[in-house]
Symmetry: C2
């Protein structure tokens, strides 16, 4: 958190630039870590901040808060959001940095929603309050060969059983904007004021419009985050077109290599749900079809991926 410039600066600006929203308010920091957001909120004028985290990092957070003279303004609680006893019945603002890879992998969004439903005042605010998942298609021949082709011959042996495993593991990595072959498309937007925990499992169609003649080896996903309650809305993106964040992008290799022409479309359905075996893992499936009149290039398929 602390070393990710894009992320922390967005949170800081969204809090510091909106002192009129934080002034004299009670704030809840869900998954507070070292309490950086809690301290931002105090500096922005909050009456009191409650920081909750399951980790023993809370002990260090207490030391840090004391070192910065904010002990009387910040209450830090170690435990599950569902179990801790808050010193206030209701809060005015929830702040939280809950996002995981692919937005939802090991994310704390369900905890934020629990906090919202339990503690947020009727007119309360959530920072951030919007999250949108995007997709695009990329050319990635060289890297796919390196990552997936590697298993064809490993020190003289046939390791193709691990190739199948490699194909099912989405890769969290930075993608060069020059590799992006299609327009981006938004898949889903979560409005944190209204979304329910069950909405985090979804099955949605997507359409990608091809920008140039090229090959498509993989689809990628990323997300944008918005603090729309701000006087001047603040957004940041974790896409390939902008500055590095530790979330990078998520790469899903396709079984086929699609040979695409400008103006064609790739259509399909992306499905995401928590794994039945282990609720923390995500099962993601992506079907794809290249829509083209050229029957020699027609291709379609379906990939099953697991983030674990």
């Amino acid at each position: 958190m602390l070393k990710d410039e894009v992320r922390t600066k967005s949170y800081r600006d969204s809090i510091y630039q909106n002192g009129h929203l934080f002034k004299d308010k009670v704030v809840l920091d869900v998954g507070c870590g070292t309490a950086i957001l809690s301290m931002f909120a105090v500096k922005a004028g909050a009456k009191h901040v409650i920081g909750v985290d399951m980790s023993t990092i809370i002990d260090k957070a207490k030391e840090i808060v004391e070192r910065n003279g904010m002990t009387s303004k910040i209450t830090l609680l170690q435990g599950k959001m569902e179990e801790v006893k808050l010193p206030f019945d209701k809060v005015d603002i929830i702040i939280s940095e809950w996002m995981g890879y692919f937005l939802l992998y090991e994310s704390m969004l369900d905890t934020v929603l629990y906090a919202r439903d339990t503690y947020l005042n009727k007119d309360g605010l959530i920072f951030p309050d919007k999250a949108t998942i995007f997709m695009a298609g990329i050319e990635d021949g060289e890297y796919k060969e390196e990552k997936i082709g590697f298993w064809d011959n490993v020190w003289g042996f046939d390791y193709t059983p691990l190739k199948e495993t490699a194909m099912t593991e989405p890769l969290v990595d930075t993608v060069d904007i020059k590799a992006v072959v299609t327009d981006p498309t938004s898949v889903i937007t979560f409005d944190l004021y209204t979304v329910k925990a069950e909405d985090l499992a979804f099955r949605l169609p997507y359409t990608l419009k091809v920008r140039r003649p090229d090959f498509v080896h993989a689809l990628i996903a990323w997300f944008d985050i918005e603090f729309s309650a701000c006087h001047k809305p603040i957004r940041f993106s974790t896409g390939p077109h902008t500055k590095y964040t530790h979330w990078k992008q998520t790469v899903f290799y396709l079984k086929d290599v699609l040979t695409v022409e400008e103006g064609e479309t790739i259509t399909g359905v992306i499905e995401n749900k928590p794994s039945e075996k282990n609720h923390r893992d995500l099962d993601i499936s992506i079907s794809y079809k290249l829509e083209t009149d050229d029957m020699h290039r027609q291709a379609s398929g379906n990939g099953a991926y697991k983030m674990c």
Copy 2:
């Protein structure tokens, strides 16, 4: 394992170049993973190889072994070395890639020693059979500032409580050979034929001879591995003077910055033992003293580190 060239090549050469040692022998591969070493041993002429691993990777290893036509030659067992039932009472050779960061962190050496004491024939061989830990002093002003100094001012707040934590965490990272200010010194050599589990906790003096006028911000440690049973002994090093391995080096920052002159020595004691709280963690303490006639530069101290 598979992608670490130095490591895997050393194992491969030590096995392939010594067919006379492996011919018709029964081999035990401790912590076999994907069974790469087991397959090397079969190719080198082993009569039979038993691979043991706790992980479900064993299922993939079975598929790989089958794909390479070695199912009749390799028995793969999932479970703890201490609990699995081997198809042979004794083995002629133990092969294992057991080394962790700082050689001993999360290493499987104790499992190898159990396998040796339980299964290895009187004249049996161990690949590899020697491991030596080395130390040196380095100039690392810029990076130390970045890693440790970072906490002085984090987004406008005093985060020094995390600075103390950062100081106690050895850093696993690649060190440029140009940063090395002292001669290397060997701290301890483990002979795998004779070493006992209790020897893995040690407390030993060290002396480092300064090579040039410079500053010393940290001590580093690494290890060398030897296959001395080979016809032509094979060694590899994980030090800063040679090719990259995934073990990199381990960096221990000192509280002081030592201002050193050529020919002076840094002396001290390095102690390593499993943590009482969690046996998988290592508690390492390093005392240091700059031996110099210049009383203005005299410095000594003691650092406590935890690998976890």
